[in-house]
Amino acid sequence: MNQMAENTTNLAIVDSPRSVANKREKRRLLEAIRMSLKIQSPAVRRNTQTFNLNRYRATAAIPDYDALKDRARWIKEDSIARLPQLVEQLRETVRARGGHVFLAGTAEDACRYIRDVCLRHGAQLVVKGKSITSEEIRLNHVLQKAGIEVAESDLAEFILQIADEQPSHIIAPAVHYSRERITELFKRKFRTDLPLDTGEDLTKFARDILRDKFLHADVGITGANLIAADTGTIMLVESEGNIRMTSLLPPVHVAVAGMEKIIAARHDMATFLELLAPSATGQPLTSYTSFLSPPLADPPFALPGKPRKRREFHLVLIDHGRLRMREDPILRETLYCIRCSACLNSCANFQTVGGHAFGGETYSGGIGGSWEAGTGTLEDARFSELCTGCSRCVNQCPIRIDVPWLNENLRNRLNQAGETFVVSGMLSTLTGGAEEDQSAPATKLFFGNYHWFAEWGTRLAPLANAIASTQTARWAMERWLGLDRRRPLPQFPKQTLASVAEELPNNDLKHPIARAVLFADVFTNYGMVERGIAALRLLRELGVDVVVSESVSEGRAALSQGLLATAAENVRRAASLLEHYLEEGRDIIVLEPSSLAMFRRDARHLLESEKLIEKLRDHTFEPVEYVAALLERTGREPWEVFDVGRSRWGNRLFYHAHCQQKTIGCAAPTETLLREIGFDLVSSSVECCGMAGSFGYKKDFYDLSMAVGEDLFKQVWEADAGGERRVLLASGTSCTEQLRAGLNREVLHPIELLATILRAE
């Protein structure tokens, strides 16, 4: 009986986000994912995907977007480097203007100071603008305990205050609420008969309550988007007008901000003014952006019966772990964050569950893990497990923060903080993992050292395939390795790419147009061998002298599990293997986009030699990208070389590029080439398929992975409409598995299609 009762509790879906706000235990994280998928997912998807689309449009309209990002990055790096001096300068500036500055070491210090300011003024009512920093320090709780009424005036915060929930998004804290759920909440809490069935009704209802609060408030508390040390100017970005009310009407204005918000000069705010709103809500500017150097000159608002006071301004700068973060080479990056939420909105997992699952008590999304770790403890960042490293956020961050790299580091630290068990230690040693990574959980060691399993599985195929597909084996793998038994396993091939290639005749080219090596990445060599063969055949037909490399892991798998020492060893070994080929004058072709992205993007974190990093970045190619470049170099048009009429799959295609492929900018060549050949091509517009390498194989995340995949599956169905079913193309191994699992259809690599439609010479 007891056992049963316990099982039921485990399966129950929690409906209060507060109960899963703290995810130091993995169980809570899994409960939160279930809750979000069940209740919050539709609203979160709609809202974040709207932000996401608008951001792409708005940033595309900035003529010097990249230069602005470089400039913003430089300003933040410079300001954080000089932070202690800037704090002192700012303190003097604000004091000279007649304001007060309090530097709070801890959250408690900050709350106590603000409470005392309120009590000194006999404040009964405090009105607040949206401030996630005030959530971080749990300010409301302290003020309320002192008998002060706190009115949250941002409508999202108003909703959360009524519902008693923590924010689920950095700029749209109630992003998980649909209009219908807000109506239901207001009707229940306010017991009103007023019509509340439209956004306008709800807004008017809240506005009427809050207008009264603004006019009667004794103290206004806001955050600050940025603070200039030279003039004491604070920048406040909003759309509702509540922050203007809060900062302009009451006699006492308290601005609460993390000390990382300080930049040296007011004129540098211009850069952020033009970057922040496009990156956040996708507008050129939000309705209101204020630049105030308080205390202001004009008298504050005072209704009859209230004394007309002189304006008073308090700037509360919060450390709460930030100075420690500044000393940490990884967490220091977090201090550059301007909290625009681009990394949340561009994240497929975040779009599907939102910040109550993909978030801690205050901060959420990709950057949220390092904020929670920096202002709390490492365990508070456990939810950052939901970052799959797909890298879609990387080009979206206006400050160029490599968010996946931060999360891979957090994972590494969590792995190292774990206990080393005999079995996992053995597993790690056996599979060639680095000694430093032995304390990682078995699941991570399995996925991170997958090349070892793949190699042995292939040696023992077809026996290994037969055994792996038995129910007992699936049960055991789920139990011990965390591999979900519902997920079809890739089949180990009878022969690896490297061994098939040895048997293929190498057409002796007297005058090759190029020389290349096909890197036998683990996923092609021990998995989708046919893709490798197709690439080899096609390139040779086109006149390229191609050889196949030995198969080694380039470290992607280990990196994504946070096994950083193993990843570094792997990429070092792969790099030294490839260096020989480079010396022979060969270009490196990499089929699996995540392996390619390791060479082009991630290796810079793991290798020491700048020269080697550059060489790998500049001489590795995606195969279709390489073909397109060859044609261009030899002055041939795509339709002269390929014949759409020879396609045995027809001309209607649906193409899903791999997430990391898009980030490193090599999805477009495939789309362009196929269109120029004459195919009718529809491309997916989802950020990620949901599989994300090993993520969708894991028991803990299988449901989430499939839920993310739904957006992609829907796009396929929509594209199919009005004609014959489209042929599915995907460049990534795991995207291919996900499409096959979700749609039960054949999926080709574009190179396989191209290899069959060469015009006869």
Partner: protein
């Protein structure tokens, strides 16, 4: 310059403000305001800093104008009128300088906000106001608010215009 004004108009409309060109003759500005506000509106006029003196004088004679409003009157007035410190063509924003009495109230508390913009104060991009060469470098010294369209929220589900700040922003473009 005229391209910049055309863009300012288009982007202003795109931000859900309404933009109307009027000649800078004080009577025509006053007439334009009267057409928008209706006969019984209670009007608050902001400071004269960035309005030609004659226009400000003409607006002072509007029938519904509250000449020295109390805070109680401010909280119930219908229309606020401001002269713009600047306009921004790339975003369609108007920029209002805070500081003098009524500057904040006239641009924030009333449901309808009318802003009078002089064409020579329209800059190309928001960043220009942080350039010491632009408008005498005043943009770097003043308390400012960039206003882009009426107040709005997406927190209640669909996009709603008209939240705590003005529900409607009407821009009178002189020239």
């Amino acid at each position: 310059m005229s391209e910049r004004i055309v863009e300012f108009e288009a982007k202003g409309e795109a931000s859900a403000a309404t933009v109307e060109r009027v000649t800078s003759a004080p009577v025509s500005v006053r007439a334009a305001v009267e057409r928008i506000v209706g006969p019984s509106a209670k009007i608050v006029l902001g400071p004269d800093e960035f309005l030609p003196r004659e226009i400000w004088q003409a607006l002072r004679e509007l029938p519904g104008l509250i000449t020295e409003p109390t805070d109680k009157q401010l909280s119930t007035a219908d229309v606020g009128i401001s002269g713009a410190f600047a306009g921004v063509s790339s975003s369609g924003s108007v920029c209002i300088a805070m500081g003098p009495p009524l500057a904040a109230a006239a641009s924030l508390l009333m449901p309808l906000h009318i802003v009078v913009v002089s064409p020579e104060r329209i800059v190309a991009r928001p960043r220009d106001l942080f350039d010491p060469e632009c408008l005498g470098g005043e943009g770097l010294r003043r308390d400012l608010v960039f206003i882009t369209g009426p107040s709005a929220t997406a927190d209640m589900g669909p996009l709603v215009r008209g939240v705590h700040g003005p529900h409607r922003l009407h821009i009178l473009l002189l020239g």
